[in-house]
Structures are given as structure tokens and as C-alpha cells.
């Protein structure tokens, strides 16, 4: 189970998971997921935090690759990057398959003994 994880780069995925490890950032992702791309002003208004704080969170999410920013006139518009989230999901799927295998062996170990 574990060797595959290394090949898929769990260390990199850990960065993604860490980026998700904050309530505001999770809320930002949920909003971008549900309502589509948004500007900093819209996001700052929704979450009642300073524009500066939102900018910091957005930068972290962007570095982790879960959102992309594009310039629209004078401001940035941020959008979810589903491909990057899918990578994190695949990583968890590998771990979950490891558990499926292990639990299958546990069941056989108990029921066949």
C-alpha cells in the first residue's frame, strides 16, 4: 500500500491538504466551487475579513495550485482548479484502496481461522 503513495507524491499532496486546513480557505473554495469565479472584493465581502487577509489566503491556495487567478481589467478573478483537487482526491483514493486491501485481509484472517 505505502510504496504506491510515494510514487504518487504524497508529500506534494500533503501541501494541498495543508492548504485546505483552514476554515476561511475551505469556505473560499466552497464558494468558488458553488458560485464560480470571483474577485477579491466579492470574496472579502462574503467572508467579512479584510481584503489583505483574503489576499493572503488566495495566494496560498494559488501556490498549492487549487485555484488559478486571471487578470480582468484592474482586478484579479479567482477560479477553482478542479484538476488539482482531483489529484488530491486520487491520492486519497490510493490510501483508501490500501485500507480496502487491509480490511479484506483482516476479514479473511478472522473468518478463515
Amino acid at each position: 500500500m505505502s510504496k504506491q503513495l510515494l510514487e504518487l507524491g504524497l508529500a506534494e499532496a500533503a501541501l494541498l491538504f495543508a492548504a485546505l486546513g483552514d476554515e476561511t480557505r475551505l469556505a473560499v473554495l466552497r464558494q468558488l466551487s458553488a458560485a464560480g469565479p470571483a474577485s477579491i472584493s466579492v470574496l472579502a465581502g462574503n467572508f467579512q475579513v479584510s481584503r489583505q487577509a483574503v489576499t493572503k489566503h488566495l495566494q496560498l491556495l494559488a501556490v498549492a495550485g487549487v485555484i488559478d487567478g486571471t487578470r480582468a481589467g484592474r482586478q484579479h478573478v479567482w477560479a477553482l482548479n478542479p484538476a488539482r483537487l482531483a489529484e488530491a482526491q486520487r491520492c486519497l483514493d490510493v490510501i483508501a484502496r490500501g485500507w480496502d486491501d487491509a480490511l479484506g485481509r483482516l476479514k479473511a484472517h478472522i473468518e478463515d481461522s
Binding site: A18, L20, Q59, I95, R105, K107
Partner: protein, 149 residues
């Protein structure tokens, strides 16, 4: 897929044996070694920290809670398998086994949580010099992502 599903794993299996039997398979070192395919260096007991080894892969496991025959909890570093890498600063996940008696035996649930628990802020504290700020952290993160890509 929802965002929330990105930070935990849940699995359930029905086993045709009473919870006491399943509990023994989970917590008896010899039995755990057999089906989990590891050697265990240390004692399986609450608070105990052990090394598990599978082929050339070695990982640290801390047993957090043992409430027979209901709940068994450990913490570990998922994917911490490269012997040359120090994983002690990496995030740990929590693995919780829950046993429920059923008419046919036991429903065993395993949940692995905490993939998101170590915040970037804490990582930043671990990795950066005291003089640094967010800019430095962002640069480090960027290098880290690009190197791993």
C-alpha cells in the same frame, strides 16, 4: 466530490465474528502483524509508540486510544516510507477503528482523518527562519510544488 471529502477516508466492512474476536485481531501484536503485513517493534498499548516495518518501509505509529472492544485509535504519517526522509515534521493522520456488534457479527469502520490538520502557518513556522514572512514562505511553497511536479 465535495471539498469536505478531500480531507477524510471512511471504510466499513462486515465481519462474521463477535467484536471481541475482531478486537483481538486489531490489537494483538502477532495478529495485527499477520493481516496488516508488518513487523511491529514495540508494544501495542495506549500511549505506546512503535515502529512498523513493511519490506524496506518503516513508519512510526502512536496508539492513542484502546477501548475494548469498541474503539482503537492510532496516529501515523501516511506515506512516510522513504527511510532517508525525516517525516517527524510532516502532518500526522488519525486512524480510528470502530467496532459495532451486529446480528451476523461485527461492523468494523475505519476512518482516517486529519489530512488537513497541519496548517500552512505551522509548516511555515517549522520551515522558515525567524526573520522570514509570508513572502519567504510562499517562495518555499512554490519551490516545493515545482520540485515535486
Amino acid at each position: 466530490m465535495t471539498i469536505a471529502e478531500l480531507i477524510r477516508i471512511d471504510r466499513t466492512i462486515e465481519i462474521k465474528a463477535p467484536p471481541e474476536r475482531v478486537w483481538r485481531a486489531l490489537t494483538d501484536a502477532a495478529e495485527l502483524s499477520a493481516w496488516f503485513r508488518v513487523t511491529i517493534d514495540g508494544e501495542v498499548a495506549p500511549g505506546s509508540e512503535v515502529w512498523m516495518q513493511h519490506a524496506s518501509q518503516r513508519f512510526r505509529v502512536q496508539f492513542v486510544e484502546m477501548t475494548p472492544p469498541r474503539r482503537f485509535v492510532w496516529k501515523w504519517h501516511p506515506g512516510a516510507v522513504d527511510p532517508k526522509v525525516d517525516y517527524s515534521l510532516e502532518p500526522r493522520t488519525t486512524v480510528t477503528f470502530t467496532l459495532e456488534p451486529t446480528a451476523g457479527g461485527t461492523r468494523l469502520t475505519v476512518a482516517e482523518t486529519g489530512f488537513d490538520e497541519v496548517s500552512l502557518e505551522r509548516r511555515a513556522k517549522v520551515y522558515q527562519d525567524n526573520s522570514g514572512g509570508w513572502t519567504e514562505v510562499l517562495v518555499w511553497l512554490q519551490k516545493y510544488v515545482e520540485a515535486a511536479a
